[in-house]
């Protein structure tokens, strides 16, 4: 990387500019002529993938801020408005939310790759430590961002995580109050989190620049773990690495878009579609999946302060990895003993993640403790010791020898993956019989809007609206919906005149008028649906303290436990109908309580309601709504229709999302295919050097 730049401009303007600010040569040397080892496998493309993902997060994030309101009373509604009314708002917000999850997914692969191939070892220690700092910044950014929608999970995540600092001796309480800007998580907390969430990504960018800088000083590691010795060992970054990166990024986008368009809420928590409520904690509060292993470590330790220390230590220990690993051989490929322990450690992390999502009781706690101990032992004992006792396999002399020598070591990696899968499967199948067995699973219904090409059944939505109007609306609001939505494309397909007639029947409070008085007028298309109660307190007062919830996003705010391995298959089958299936089950799930069940006063027994005692009396019965289209007037039909209607109110752009998803997937498949062949062509001469004309430098190929 030293010596004169390979960039020698001939154009006088470029020369003039270059003499004053040599940024072009810097970029050229960094991203064009930069020598990169020729034997890098696809795992090395995750650095580039992460850079692209960071860009996506920043661009979508800046746009979300244009529509978001950082105020405890308005945040939730502003995000819902973005999802409903802003052009492509749903797309941008889902891209940001799923982008963060995939960002973590990619960063874990990037980190595990570094750990397996010893990328943290001399001379790359600083490079690695900068990476650990970036990871810490990402965790902070992800957490802060998760708070912004101000749903139930946001609020309680903010509460739990900030309370970690209360474990600090003496100043803990003061510190937490300072973090909150109040006596509990509230509006000041939200606004400062918002500010920091906007700031930190740019700090990450700065550290990424340092990361890339350090990388370009010491050069990339490679699967063989030997440093480049001759020009033959490397190829120029462009076009070789560029097109490899682009191909794998495009392939990664296929995965991204699968979630973005077909499973946008799969990686999130249903509870976050319930607006924040400081007086009720959700029954089961868990962090996002990418924090779960650390959450398990926190809960494994019975002492508050020690738990918090263990949590932070489990991340910070990564920074000491360059000195904990005593082996001189970099690549895990040539370290038979290390390889085994590496995969055991990966399995430990995954199982810890699973334990983090389980309730903190019984066998789960014991398992968490054992694995937490192993997590640390791996770093403190296993790595230093095996480095000393292990007898490494012969390491190739050069990168070229490794590259041309073929890839016969694949079998080992496959075996390790199989072992890992088996281990995970075993640990999960030994799951103790859960108390949830008394909670029956809602039967899965067939829905027209399920699957990649799903569309709403207009007639069903119209019937569902009728059920809502005649039954549900007596107690439940639909405050995020406007009358105009009824006539918008992708919905129940009412005409504008029909929607206007529905609006005109509503009494809307308006004003103040010129006399300063509020007045009532008939609703217009632009008005929101009117809630049956003026405020949640009035609703609660009318129902013995249990206010009937607003139904606008109910279909996304309810779910049920899918269980292992079903929840993994759901990714392939695109199952997103948890909410509606639950609703149908609930509406038809009223029964006489079993003899040994003590039903609290004023509640009703429902088979499918968690805990079984539900305040809502059975709302539907056969024949209560008179359909005009000849559909069966049964409770089950009413339940299905109203659930479908509420799916539409929760996700009014569902049809547009799936349609755009299909177009995007087709496009990405074409692009990925083209990039694959382009990459293959570019690499052809490097991968098959014997076919190159004698005396011709294979690397001279340019596009």
């Amino acid at each position: 990387m030293s010596g004169p730049s390979k960039f020698q401009p001939t154009h006088p303007v470029l020369k003039w500019f270059e003499a004053r600010l040599p940024i072009l040569s810097l970029l050229y040397d960094s991203f064009v002529s930069y020598p990169t080892p020729r034997n890098l496998n696809f795992l090395w493309t995750f650095g580039a993938i992460l850079s692209f993902l960071l860009m996506i997060q920043i661009v979508t994030g800046i746009i979300l801020v244009m529509h978001y309101t950082a105020n405890a009373d308005l945040a939730f509604a502003s995000i819902e408005q973005m999802m409903r009314d802003v052009n492509y708002g749903w797309l941008l917000r889902y891209a940001h939310a799923n982008g963060s999850a995939l960002f973590f997914f990619a960063v874990y692969i990037h980190m595990f790759r570094g750990m397996y191939y010893g990328s943290y070892k001399e001379p790359r220690e600083v490079l690695w430590i900068i990476g650990v700092i970036i990871y810490l910044l990402m965790m902070a950014t992800g957490f802060l961002g998760y708070v912004l929608p101000w749903g139930q999970m946001s609020y309680w995540a903010a509460t739990v995580i900030t309370n970690l600092f209360s474990a600090v001796p003496i100043v803990g309480e003061t510190l937490v109050t300072w973090l909150w800007g109040g006596y509990s998580v509230g509006n000041p907390t939200l606004t400062r989190f918002f500010s920091l969430h906007y700031l930190l990504p740019f700090v990450i960018v700065a550290f990424v620049v340092l990361h890339v800088w350090a990388l370009h000083v010491v050069g990339q590691n490679n699967p063989a773990g030997v440093e480049p010795k001759s020009d033959e060992d490397t190829v120029p970054f462009t076009p070789y690495a560029t097109f490899k990166d682009l191909f794998f990024f495009s392939a990664f986008m296929l995965l991204f878009c699968w979630f973005l368009f077909y499973l946008p809420n799969y990686l999130g928590h249903a509870d976050n579609y319930i607006p924040a409520n400081p007086s009720v904690t959700p029954a089961h509060i868990v962090p996002e999946w990418y924090y779960l292993p650390f959450y398990a470590i926190l809960r494994a330790i019975p002492n508050k302060l020690a738990g918090v220390i263990a949590l932070f230590a489990s991340i910070l220990i990564l920074a000491f990895l360059p000195w904990l690993d005593t082996s001189k051989v970099k690549s895990g490929r040539y370290r038979p003993l290390f390889k085994i322990f590496f995969w055991i450690w990966i399995a430990t992390c995954i199982v810890l993640g699973w334990l983090g999502a389980m309730p903190a009781e019984g066998g789960y706690v014991i398992a968490s403790r054992i694995l937490t101990a192993w997590y640390f032992l791996h770093f403190i004992v296993v790595l230093p010791v095996i480095g000393m006792i292990e007898k490494p396999l012969p390491v190739p002399d050069s990168i070229t020898e490794d590259h041309i020598g073929g890839h016969k070591k694949k079998a080992g990696a496959v075996a390790a993956l199989v072992a890992l899968a088996a281990l995970v499967g075993l640990s999960v199948s030994s799951e103790p019989a859960r108390a949830s067995s008394e909670q029956p699973k809602p039967p899965q219904q067939t829905w027209t809007f399920a699957g990649p090409f799903g569309t709403f059944d207009r007639a069903q939505l119209q019937r569902g609206f009728q059920v809502y109007r005649e039954v549900c609306s007596a107690c439940h609001g639909l405050s995020l919906m406007s009358f105009r939505n009824l006539a918008e494309p992708g919905g129940p397909g009412f005409t504008t005149a029909q929607a206007a007639a529905v609006a005109a029947e509503a009494k809307v409070k308006d004003g103040p008028n010129d006399q300063g008085e509020m007045f009532e007028r008939p609703g217009r298309l632009a008005d929101r649906f009117q809630s049956p109660y003026p405020n949640p307190q009035a609703a609660a007062a009318a129902f013995n303290g249990a206010a009937p919830p607003d139904l606008s996003v109910m279909a996304k705010a309810r779910t049920y436990e899918r269980g292992f391995p079903t929840f993994l298959f759901d990714i392939l089958t695109q199952y997103q109908e948890n909410g509606v299936d639950y609703m149908v089950a609930l509406l038809g799930g009223y029964e006489d309580p079993p003899a040994d069940f003590k039903l609290p006063d004023g509640s009703n027994y429902n088979k499918y309601f968690p805990g079984h005692a539900v305040a809502m009396p059975p709302p539907l019965a056969d024949g209560v709504v008179a359909y005009t289209d000849g559909s069966p007037q049964t409770l089950n039909q009413y339940a299905k229709d109203v659930a479908a209607f509420l799916m539409w109110t929760a996700e009014p752009h569902l049809e547009a999302r799936k349609r755009l998803g299909f177009q995007t997937m087709i496009f990405l498949l074409v692009l990925t295919g083209l990039l694959y062949f382009t990459k293959k062509k570019i690499w052809h001469d490097v991968e098959h050097p014997t076919e190159a004309a004698p005396g011709q430098d294979p690397k001279a190929t340019k596009i």
Partner: protein
């Protein structure tokens, strides 16, 4: 291909590179669509821009009121007979943006002038019943409009625009 001694034949490789580049560029262009479209007015803003009704009965002769439609001030001027006559008698040659008063009012309702109250120079709101022409005076850079809302003097290039409106009855208009 950097070697000039090789024959320059359009190969399958060239085609592949061009195709890949083109598809990538098309994809990039499509990505820009949502990024740009999101800044346009959202659906609730558009819905809130629906027509409004204004009752003219309380507006006295000689009075100018201001109502808001789509976030813009709309001036409704109930002109006196004298003002109407004056507005109708102006010679077209005196107007930078020639337009008759008849073109700016509805037949049979000449006493009512409805204009968008935004100066056509750079968007300030002119002050009613001031300036040398009995109409509006813009305090920002001194544009003057007559009592038909036509530009007479100053940097503004055009008359105050007339919003779409109609008379629902003799004393009620619908703007929008």
């Amino acid at each position: 291909m950097t070697n000039p001694s090789l024959p320059a034949e359009p190969t399958r490789r060239d085609f592949l590179y061009i195709a890949t580049g083109a598809v990538g560029a098309i994809g990039g262009a499509f990505v820009l669509v949502p990024l740009i479209a999101q800044m346009n007015p959202n659906a609730s803003t558009i819905a809130a821009g629906a027509p409004i009704e204004v009752d003219l009965a309380p507006i006295a002769e000689g009075q100018v009121i201001k109502v808001t439609w789509r976030g813009k001030p709309i001036f409704i001027s109930h002109r006196t007979k004298q003002e109407v006559e004056q507005a109708q008698s102006v010679k077209m040659s005196q107007l930078p943006d020639p337009q008759t008063d008849q073109d700016r009012t509805k037949p049979g309702h000449e006493q009512w002038l409805v204009v968008v109250g935004i100066c056509t120079h750079l968007g300030c709101i002119p002050i009613a019943k001031s300036g040398d022409y009995g109409g509006w005076f813009c305090p920002c850079h001194g544009s003057q409009y007559d009592d038909s809302g036509r530009i007479r003097q100053g940097p503004a290039p055009a008359n105050l625009p007339i919003p779409p409106y109609r008379f629902v009855s003799d004393s009620k208009i619908e703007i929008g």
